[in-house]
Structure formats: C-alpha cells, structure tokens
Symmetry: C2
Subunit: 214 residues, 2 copies
DNA sequence: CCTAAATTTAGAATCAACCTAGTAATATGT
DNA sequence: ACATATTACTAGGTTGATTCTAAATTTAGG
C-alpha cells in the first residue's frame, strides 16, 4: 500500500493513478459528473483514454476512491470486536467513533461531493451497489463468526438489519450535507439517530454473536 | 388500465407496447439480456428503434413489467391492514399468501428469467433500485400511518428492516430458482425462513404501528 | 373532408465500454 | 552493460444505449 519496497514501475503507476483520479475529481466537482467525459479526464491528466479506463474500469470508480474501505468496514469491525462484545455493540461503538471524527466513509464528504452524487443516477446506483457489497461482506463475516451453515439465514437477516441502519444513516448524512448543515450539527443529530436505530435493534440483535470472553 | 373507454389511439399504443415487450422478453430469454440489442427488439417488433425507447426509456424496463406493482406492494399491504393488526403482522401474512400462490412479485419468475437477471449486472442494478424504491414507498406509508414528522427516523428504520427482509427473501427465491429447485420446494423453505426472519423482528417491531381497532 | 394533435419514423450525434495492434518504458538475467 | 522479456501506455477503431431533430404518418374532432 505505501511506497515501501516499490520499484520505479509501481511508483509511476501510483502517480499516474493519483493524477487521473485527482484531475477527474476536480473536473467532476467543477462541472458535474455527467458533464465531464472520459476524454476530458484523459486530456486533463495527459494520458490516453484507454489508460483512464485501465485504471478505472467504470467511470463511477473515478469518484469512489474509498469504495473498498467502505465495503470492508463493517465486516472488519465485527471481526475485531473485543471479547464479551456483541456484534451490535461493536458496530454502534465504531459508528459513534466515526461520527465523532467526521469520517468520510460514513458520509462526511463535503457539500460539493454530496451534491455531485445526488445529481447523478449513475453515482447513486454505484453507491447502492457498494451498500450491497458491504452487507454481503458483513453477512459472510457473521456466518464465519457464528459458525453458521450456508443455508442458515440468520447471519443474512442480521446483516440486512445492520446494513440497513448503516445505509440509512449514510443517506441521512448526505441529505443533511446537501441541505447545507455543517458537520458538527450533523454529527449531533446522528448521535441521536444512532440511539434510536441501534436501540430498536437491541431487543432482536443485542444478544447475537457475542464474542466469547477469554 | 383496462380496455374500457379507450379510443383507437390508446388501443394501438397498448398493442404496440405489449408487442415490443413480448418480443423483447422472448429474445432476452432466448439469447440473454446483453446479447440482444435495442435494434434487435425494434426489428422483431417491426418498429423504429426510437419507438422502443419511447415506450421503455431504459433497456432494463423492457424486462421488469411488474416493477410498479413491486414498488407499491409493501406500502399497499400496510395501508390496507386490518384494524388491530400490526405492520409486521400484515406484511408477514401477505408474504405467506404470496408464497402460497408462487407470486412472481416476490421472485417466482421461473428459471430462465432468474438466470437472465443473475447474468446481467444492469438488471441486477435495476432490481436493486426497485428494492430501494419499494423501501422508500414503505417508509412514506409508515410515516403517514404513524403521523411521524419528516425528521422522525423511526419509520425509515422500520422500513429498512422490513424492506431488508423482503429483499433477502426475494434474492433467496431467485437463488434457489437458479439452482434448479422447484417452486413448491422453494415455497416450503421460504415458509421456514419467514418464521426466522419475521420472528427476529418481532421483539423490535411487533408492537409498531398497530392499527387502532374500530 | 379538413385541420390540429399525437405518434412514429429515419438519421445523426454523443459517449461509455471494449478491443487490438503497436510503441515505449521498466525489469530481469547474463 | 546489454539483450530480452514484461508490463504500461498509446492510437485508433467498433459497438450499442441514449438523446435529439425534423419529417412523415396516423388519429381525433369538428
């Protein structure tokens, strides 16, 4: 990931990718996602169109740099939860922490970015896909953690409920950001919403998949 | 909706639309969604390409004829629930009924159709969008039913949980259909899954939005 | 029959996505 | 250091969904 142990070739690839991504983001925020073509991005980054497509197979990928991090976030939180902690408690704790630091991964991406996503059906669809992947990753983690079989539906139901809450709060963060509210204000509201949403899940999931102590 | 009180023009439009949809479905099931072009559909239906696009703005719309029905189904069930019945109970009852009659709207669409969707990222994405619209429609219905304000998140959390379960069961139906299981067999499994999934929601949502008696 | 409105058509333009063959740069083995 | 194999990049073209236009056709309503 870092520049450690990286040859000249890897370094240049990193630079090319970053340059393309940077130019694309700049153009998208300036003119809107749909108004900027792949050719525009290629020209701004001084590379061939094909090079843009090589690094970012879909145009939407130019926007969501944190996609992989986003997809893995819930599954990772669950896997790393402390002994004696339930899945629900670990996710709630992690979410509160992310809210406190205005983490972009939960939606604190700034007004321009939020507007750009909201204005583009293609980006909204891609975001939906990420939510889906994240839920699937969580379901897999839950199945592994609880030793459930492939036909056991409980991990998937739990993942749907938990993923649903996270998606909801993400959308709310975006919505309020677009409405012009500041991050601290949104964070305050989210804290209350977290209590309502996770609190509702407490009776059904509070005792689910508590990691054994020791 | 019916052919009642319909002039010649409306009738022909209906026929044109049905013809296009029918030819498209036939071609898609035969060759796969991605292998058939809009031009192919237009040629088979003996109309101009533009006419296909006029009736079905997106290529995916040629496939999902029951889309609007699908989107409204949960909200309508909730609005029509009996006095004294909770939202959760009404949805559970409606789902069991749909399973019993192998309703296409919950995923009983036949192996060829299921495979077609599964094989096409565009159709999968469109289906995701429908799930999303359905959840939003349900959230609106719940907000109206409970007289919740626009900043009340409870209806949206409930809709996310309920919509999540429905999406899960839909996907499971598709998955098993693709795996070659017959409708009766799938219906039997679903009945058990319904108990597990709705049962898990019982403690959190069992008392939510019970319609007043009288 | 005649005119207005709606529908359908043919044709072109745009652009994302994909493909291919060739060129340039880097890495590797001697 | 040099030759050769890999890998990255480029240039150019193809496909197909989507959008737009103006013209032709069809229907509705006098």
């Amino acid at each position: 990931m870092s520049t450690q142990k990286m040859g000249l070739r890897e370094l240049k690839k990193q630079q090319t990718r970053e340059n393309i991504s940077h130019q694309a983001t700049r153009l998208f925020l300036e003119h809107g996602f749909d108004k900027v073509t792949i050719a525009d991005v290629a020209e701004a980054a001084q590379v061939a169109k094909m090079t843009v497509t090589n690094y970012f197979p879909r145009k939407e990928d130019l926007v969501f740099d944190l996609g992989e991090e986003f997809v893995q976030s819930l599954a990772r939180t669950v896997r790393r939860r402390a002994p004696g902690e339930s899945v629900l408690a670990s996710l709630r704790r992690a979410y509160l922490a992310a809210v406190a630091e205005h983490d972009p991964v939960i939606g604190f991406s700034g007004p321009a970015f939020a507007r750009m996503i909201d204005a583009s059906p293609a980006l909204t669809a891609r975001l939906r896909e990420f939510h889906d992947e994240r839920e699937k990753a969580l379901a897999d983690a839950l199945a592994t953690e609880t030793g459930a079989g492939p036909d056991d539906i409980l991990p998937r139901v739990a993942a749907a409920q938990l993923g649903g809450v996270h998606r909801l709060l993400f959308d709310e963060t975006l919505r309020r950001t677009i409405a012009g509210q500041g991050d601290p204000e949104i964070a305050a509201v989210l804290t209350r919403y977290i209590d309502a949403a996770f609190g509702l899940l407490e009776p059904s999931l509070g005792g689910y998949a508590v990691r054994p102590t020791g």
